[in-house]
Amino acid sequence: MMKAVSVAFDMVTPYGWGTDSCWEGLLSGTSAIRRIERFSTSLMQTDNAATVPDLKPNRDESLVMQMLSPLLKKIAPGIPSDTFVILATTTGEIEFLQRSIINGEHEAIKSRPDHLLNKIMFLSGTCGGGMIVSAACVSSSAAVLRAASMIRNKEHDSILVVACDSVSEFVTAGFSSLMALDRHMAKPFDKNRCGLSLGEAAGFMLLMSEERAVREKRDSLGEIAGWGLTNDANHITGPSKDGSSLSNAVLNAMKSAGISEKEIGCISAHGTGTIYNDSMEMKAIKKIFGNNPVPLYSVKGGTGHTMGAAGLLEIIIGFETLNKKIVPPTVNLRDTDREAEGWVSSEQQSFESPVTLSTNSGFGGVNSALILKKAETIL
C-alpha cells in the first residue's frame, strides 16, 4: 500500500508567519485573539477575532492572497511542476464580493474560488491540474485526506494542498446572526464556554508518495496514515447529540491506518468552544477510548476558528506534537468542563507514542478524522 507523506508545510496564523510562531504561541498559553480593526463591529456579537497582524484589508490583493503569496513564492522552486493542487476554503476572496455590493469596486464573480485556484496554480508553478474541496470547517482536513487517498490509489504522487480563509464582515455578521460567537475569547472544553472566536490563516502542505519522496531525497515530516469522513445527516448547523457520526469517522480512520485506539498518543480535537460541539466531541471520543483518557487539546482558544484552514493548521500542529513529543496546552482553559476532565489541560504535556489523531466537524454535519504518524517511523 502506497504511503502518503508530507515533505513540506508552512503557514501563517494569527500568531504570525511560520509554523514555529504558531507552535511557540500555543505553548506559551497566550491567545492571538484580538480586537478586530478592519471593519466596524459595533453591531456584531463580538469585537474580537484572531486576525493575522499587518494584513491590509483594502488592497487590490485579497487578504488570503496577502497570506498565500509569500508562502507559495518561497516554496514554489521546490514544487514539482506535475504536482496536482487541491484548494480548501470556505469563502476565499470574499472581499471582492463585499466590495462589489458596497461600492461597486470589483466584480462579484472574482470572489469565486476557481479564480483563486488559478492564482495558486500560477504562483506555485504547477501544471498538473487542480480541484477545490469544500466541506465547511472540515474543508482542509478533507482536502488532506483526499490527497492522501489519491496518493494511496496511485492517481497522483505529488499533491499540494493549500488552505486559507480570512476574517471578514461577511463571515462575522453571519456567525453573529447565529449567536455562535463568544463575546470575549473562545474557551474550548471549559465549563464556561459560550461560543467560538473566528480566526484566519493560510498554509500549504506538499504530500508525496513515499516512493517519490525517497527517490527525490526529500525529508518526510510525517505520514497521513489513515482517514475517515462521515456525515451526521441530522441538522444543518448543530452537531449530532451523541457523537456517533464523528466516532464512526474515527473508527474508519483507525481501520484505514491499521491501528487500534491504544496506539494513539494524543488527540487534536476540533474544540470550537461552542457548548454543543465540544460536548458532542467528548461523547464521540469516549465511544472510542472509553474511560481511558488520552491527552486531548484544541488550538482554537489561541488561533481562533480559522474555518476552511483549520484542518490543515491542526494537522501541521499535529506533526509538530509528534516530532517534539509535546501536547500543547488548551489555551483559555480555566475551569475544565466535567465531560472533559482528565482529558484536556491548560498545561503542556509530554507523550511518547508516534501516532496521533486529528478531528474536525463542520456545518452540515460533516466529520473528519485523520491518523498522523511520526516521520522516522516510516522512512
Binding site: N118, M131, V133, S134, E169, S177, L178, S245
Partner: protein, 220 residues
C-alpha cells in the same frame, strides 16, 4: 465493478429517470415540490423545504429522482452508509450575493442566519443528506475541467478506495440538475445498471445539458 444504478435529472420544463424510462414535462419549479409529493418521489415531507436556496431544492429534486430510479427506499430515521458528492459551475455565488445584499440593505445591523448558512457550497448536499439519511462522506468539489466526468471518476475512486460503498454524485445549477447513484455492484446481469466508465465516456466534454441527457439515454 463500479456501476451507476440510477440517474435522475430535471430542467425548467422536464424531469426524468433514465433507467425507468421516465421523461415527463412539469409546470415549473414553484409547483414541483407538491407535484413530486403527489407522485411519491419524496416518500416523506422535506423539512423546511420552502426556506431552501435554489441549489438545495434542485439537489433534493434530482436526488429523489435518482434514488427512485435506482429503487432505493429511504427514510430520514434509517440512515444509510451512502455518501454525497456535488460539483457545479458557480458554487454558491448566488447565495453569497443574496445574503450580503440583504445584510447591506438592512443597514448592516443584523445578517439573516437563514441566508448565511447557504453561503457554503456544501450546504445543499447537507440538506439532501438530512432528508435522505445519507451518513457517508459529504464533499462539494470544483474541477477546473470536465466537471461531470471528473465528479463521476472521483466518486468511483472513493468507492474503490473503500471509503464508502455507495455515493450520490450531484451536479445542480439554478436551471438544471442531474444526480447519479453509484455503487459497487457484483451482479450486472439485471440490466438496470451500467458501468461507471460507460457513463463517464457518454458525458464526454459537453456542458450542454440536453446533449448530455441524450447521450446517457443512449447507454441505458
Amino acid at each position: 465493478m463500479i456501476a451507476v444504478t440510477g440517474i435522475g435529472w430535471l430542467t425548467r420544463k422536464e424531469y426524468g429517470c433514465l433507467f425507468s424510462k421516465i421523461n415527463e414535462p412539469h409546470e415549473g419549479f414553484d409547483t414541483l415540490y407538491s407535484y413530486f409529493k403527489d407522485k411519491s418521489y419524496f416518500s416523506c415531507p422535506v423539512k423546511n423545504f420552502s426556506r431552501f436556496d435554489t441549489i438545495s431544492k434542485m439537489t433534493c429534486f434530482s436526488a429523489a429522482l435518482a434514488l427512485k430510479d435506482a429503487g432505493v427506499s429511504y427514510s430520514a430515521d434509517q440512515k444509510k452508509d451512502i455518501g454525497i458528492f456535488g460539483a457545479n459551475e458557480a458554487g454558491c455565488l448566488e447565495s453569497n450575493l443574496n445574503y450580503f445584499q440583504d445584510y447591506i440593505e438592512s443597514g448592516r445591523i443584523l445578517a439573516r442566519g437563514n441566508l448565511f448558512i447557504y453561503t457554503l457550497p456544501s450546504i445543499p448536499l447537507a440538506e439532501a443528506s438530512i432528508h435522505f439519511g445519507l451518513c457517508g462522506p459529504l464533499l462539494h468539489l470544483f474541477f477546473n475541467e470536465k466537471r461531470i466526468p471528473s465528479l463521476l471518476s472521483f466518486a468511483g475512486e472513493s468507492i474503490t478506495g473503500g471509503e464508502t460503498p455507495s455515493i450520490l454524485a450531484v451536479s445542480a445549477e439554478e436551471t438544471d440538475a442531474i444526480c447519479f447513484v453509484i455503487k459497487q455492484e457484483d451482479d450486472t446481469s439485471s440490466g438496470k445498471n451500467t458501468g461507471l466508465q460507460n457513463v463517464i465516456a457518454a458525458a464526454g466534454d459537453t456542458y450542454i445539458f440536453d446533449e448530455m441527457i441524450n447521450a446517457f439515454k443512449g447507454i441505458v
